[in-house]
Symmetry: D3
Subunit: 226 residues, 6 copies
Amino acid sequence: MEKRFVLKISGKIIDPREPQRIAGYSSVIKRLVDDGYRVAVVVGGGPYAREYISCAKNLGFTDAQADIIGIEIARVNALLLAYALGEYGYIPIPRNIEDVYRAWSTGKVVVVGGLQPGQSTAAVAMVIAESLGVRNVLYATTVDGIYDKDPNKFSNAKKLNRISIDEVQKYISQRYEAGGYELLDPLAIGIAKRSCIEITVFNGLQPENVFKALLHEIGTHVICHE
Amino acid sequence: MEKRFVLKISGKIIDPREPQRIAGYSSVIKRLVDDGYRVAVVVGGGPYAREYISCAKNLGFTDAQADIIGIEIARVNALLLAYALGEYGYIPIPRNIEDVYRAWSTGKVVVVGGLQPGQSTAAVAMVIAESLGVRNVLYATTVDGIYDKDPNKFSNAKKLNRISIDEVQKYISQRYEAGGYELLDPLAIGIAKRSCIEITVFNGLQPENVFKALLHEIGTHVICHE
Amino acid sequence: MEKRFVLKISGKIIDPREPQRIAGYSSVIKRLVDDGYRVAVVVGGGPYAREYISCAKNLGFTDAQADIIGIEIARVNALLLAYALGEYGYIPIPRNIEDVYRAWSTGKVVVVGGLQPGQSTAAVAMVIAESLGVRNVLYATTVDGIYDKDPNKFSNAKKLNRISIDEVQKYISQRYEAGGYELLDPLAIGIAKRSCIEITVFNGLQPENVFKALLHEIGTHVICHE
Amino acid sequence: MEKRFVLKISGKIIDPREPQRIAGYSSVIKRLVDDGYRVAVVVGGGPYAREYISCAKNLGFTDAQADIIGIEIARVNALLLAYALGEYGYIPIPRNIEDVYRAWSTGKVVVVGGLQPGQSTAAVAMVIAESLGVRNVLYATTVDGIYDKDPNKFSNAKKLNRISIDEVQKYISQRYEAGGYELLDPLAIGIAKRSCIEITVFNGLQPENVFKALLHEIGTHVICHE
Amino acid sequence: MEKRFVLKISGKIIDPREPQRIAGYSSVIKRLVDDGYRVAVVVGGGPYAREYISCAKNLGFTDAQADIIGIEIARVNALLLAYALGEYGYIPIPRNIEDVYRAWSTGKVVVVGGLQPGQSTAAVAMVIAESLGVRNVLYATTVDGIYDKDPNKFSNAKKLNRISIDEVQKYISQRYEAGGYELLDPLAIGIAKRSCIEITVFNGLQPENVFKALLHEIGTHVICHE
Amino acid sequence: MEKRFVLKISGKIIDPREPQRIAGYSSVIKRLVDDGYRVAVVVGGGPYAREYISCAKNLGFTDAQADIIGIEIARVNALLLAYALGEYGYIPIPRNIEDVYRAWSTGKVVVVGGLQPGQSTAAVAMVIAESLGVRNVLYATTVDGIYDKDPNKFSNAKKLNRISIDEVQKYISQRYEAGGYELLDPLAIGIAKRSCIEITVFNGLQPENVFKALLHEIGTHVICHE
């Protein structure tokens, strides 16, 4: 069994106002490295990124420019986690795919915050996984997984334990308003599909859930074919 | 009228087996710079990229890895054009969006060959246009423009002189098999739409056609709203 | 008269929650460039930097590590201003003194957000001025200048129009609690003194004040010798 | 016995049209690394480099510019091998001698495709060996070794098993038309001589021959003194 | 007990006219690495730096520019030591704090010669220690430690075995002309104090003294609190 | 007439112990730039480089490593000239051929001190000229030009005003002990020949001689064909 994975963490989870959660992720990742895992982490921008992006829009910048500003904030979040990792983490935060390779070559945990305008954090996680030849993405978010309907609208929405990437794509193309719609954009799905990358979407508010997600005990396991 | 544009040239057009066409593009771009234009160029990989990508696939590399290898060939094509531009061209070929900014700051013509795996050359052109705040993309390809039907299948296919980006998107989502389908992928269209970037798709086998495309005398002019 | 200066702007002034002020600084700088000035700008981190630094401290990072995180936020502020400057501004934001030289060589306005841990923004402004051979620093802050006593404590505190750098140093070494104490640290003063760099401390809440500060019509003019 | 060597592979051997040979070299190198060897590899440009160089000449570029274009193709060949090496290989491909040091410091196999115009691939191999303090170069080519006469002209030409670098130099200065003439240029010989670098020229069409060349079982062993 | 330290070596000690001492330091550091230590080294510029700085002043350069020139010479001294370290040393010499992190991530011994104008070598050692989270600095100089009076003026000056950083600071602020005055500038002391970095000032003319200094058998041990 | 040239200056001429000569070269180059010339300068290492190289040899470093150390000193000499050039000079000193292109793109005077081990300063000047497409090299040295015999041995040695590159090559291959022997190595001659680069060897102890050398009023004019 391959002991390499990309961990995508929402900017709502790695947030400077919640230092204890950053410390928690740092502990979890260190334990996994001690257990033989190689890990790359993609961190989102979260609420501060949104404030900076709002300023950028207000100033009339283009979407790409606003995006780059949001990526810079995500990189500061990434730096918080990288410093928390101490000798386990790679610094400085990689700024493009070549930097990612350089960092990965040292054997350290690589934490990034975005690479290029026009891509969701989920897509960045897939691009990095595919570039490194990694086929396992853990996707830490604020919900428990992917639902068959929008759980905010339907009380009978049911969390899916296991779903194929084709089905996720179908939900999206039909704009079914299921949870999957916001989590994975077409580029992320496209890469997952063509390279058969497995994704586990799980509730990452508790860092220890990473261990359970690795074993598919929680969340939704998106598999590449039936 | 803004005198800045991004020129996207297919790898079938900038091809080392056709040095005269490279020389032709170099002359055209120099004349435009002398006339006050600022130009960024995105060059595709063409047939040699395909041969290298085929080797990559044969060796079991992932799509992202094969993509990066194709981008490297596109960069060599870009270098051919950059050298042909002499003192007008920026060298070395930028390898990421920050490099593009550095190159652009010198006032030289910036020629790139791709930035990141998972993106078409058309998408790269849009990302660069949006990052630089440029709203005009000239799209040199081997056909005369976008057709209402696939011109290879329907003898009565008609070239469109003017079309909105929404209509292009509709063709694609309906998989109408029109020419636009292969020319512009969803990411390229999405950026063009959100930043109101105008695109002129034209036959670039004759470098001088760039002058006509700039004036919308040839090709298909994709406008951002009616 | 030399038409080159370094403009240091407090992070309280260049703040993403105040986009109009960023736009104002952008207009002012563009006009000065059109008038023949060459400008380097140093931007502070402001309230967001303080939030990130507080998280860093909470996680047990060292002061240097917390400092670097604050510098990263200052760089995002710098990027906001650099994008607002459009074709006048250099991107990407320089990250060390060699980057500053590279950027300066293009003739663009160079905006930075800090270079190294252990230095105040004022010290960075002096280091950059001295490295570029510039002898004029405009210092935009939230107070009207340097006072003979702490204006927050003494109602009869008087703003000084003109003061020598030696006197500023004396205030500080005597811990006189004057306004100068917080504005200029020993490193900043030491460089200003040895290279005879003139400093104009002024209220930068109104971007247009830069014009008046250039003419010494407002603020406190710190001269290098009587 | 030192377990470090530089492996120079002709562009005729590492060729994208022969993926199986690339896979073969990758296997051989991985086994040597597992056996404790440290390896740097220099790859030539081969037939595609020649096509690009021919275009460059056609466009009137200088020899240095054409050379740089050929080096770029050699770097894509190097990238093919580096990706084939998986976690054993360093990416991105080093572009100058400082990059080589950075890559070497990670402990990975370093694959390069040329560093600077005006140097043969053989000279690059010697420069890298000398810069890293390595005294053993394996030279994979399409012939079986160095001959006492040109084997294409003389049916009685005899492959030399062992020859001193002084004799190779003599052949060249007398333009004896022996096989050594095309294999090693004056710069490569000069470095080999001054740093006593041993060279084993061997037929590299079969990747497994590397094992035999390491033991001097095949090819010509060029020693630095009698 | 933490096995990481920063070793600061005066430019009078690492001097190209004394190759044997460089070899000696190389042996000592290698032994410590073999014993499990991680080491970063900061090397001063010494007499050649002074000659170049004198030329810079003569040409009317600013202090920062002269400083940068001195740092470049210190970097060449650092390179001498890095090459002497062979496979233990990181090359190329890091030029800014991000380079230091990149180098440190490889696990090699990192040798630097200065990072930025306006900082003493002692301050650089403290900045690097604090950035890496290291709390132990060995300070190799040409005197035996810190004295209670200036040993050049007072025959009864007594070397201090142990002193708190507060006392060192007091000596300096009172300009007591003690040995500490020249060794540690305010920035270096400020960082040592805030991050509780212990400093051992010792006579480094004999490289083997590093072992004794590590055990506090020689020199002056500057502790962060009583 | 092309107004671009590469100026190669011996390390014996640009020497920190002779600041006035550095100032003189700075003035001369600024005047030429004001007159419309574009200039790249290659500076040698001189006596300090030799001292550092001697230390390197003493420590058992390889020739390439010693070479790199000498290049670093040449770069510090280059930095002295670049700072003296003020706003005319590019900083930081380029460290490889891609850096040279980046620097050249800004329009500034580019000063380098060497690029790679195993190359004379003369060869570096030729590589840069050929890479930039420049066909004129001014070669400032401590003798008046190339002689028909060694002027140190033969009182009747005659300075040549004009000589073809073929003749220079003949002198060298015959080891005629003429002055040209030490000035131009085979790589430098080879590049000059294949790209028809004209070289003017002249006495550069007086910086103003550059003006005369440009007009072929002094020195030896090496032409590429009769």
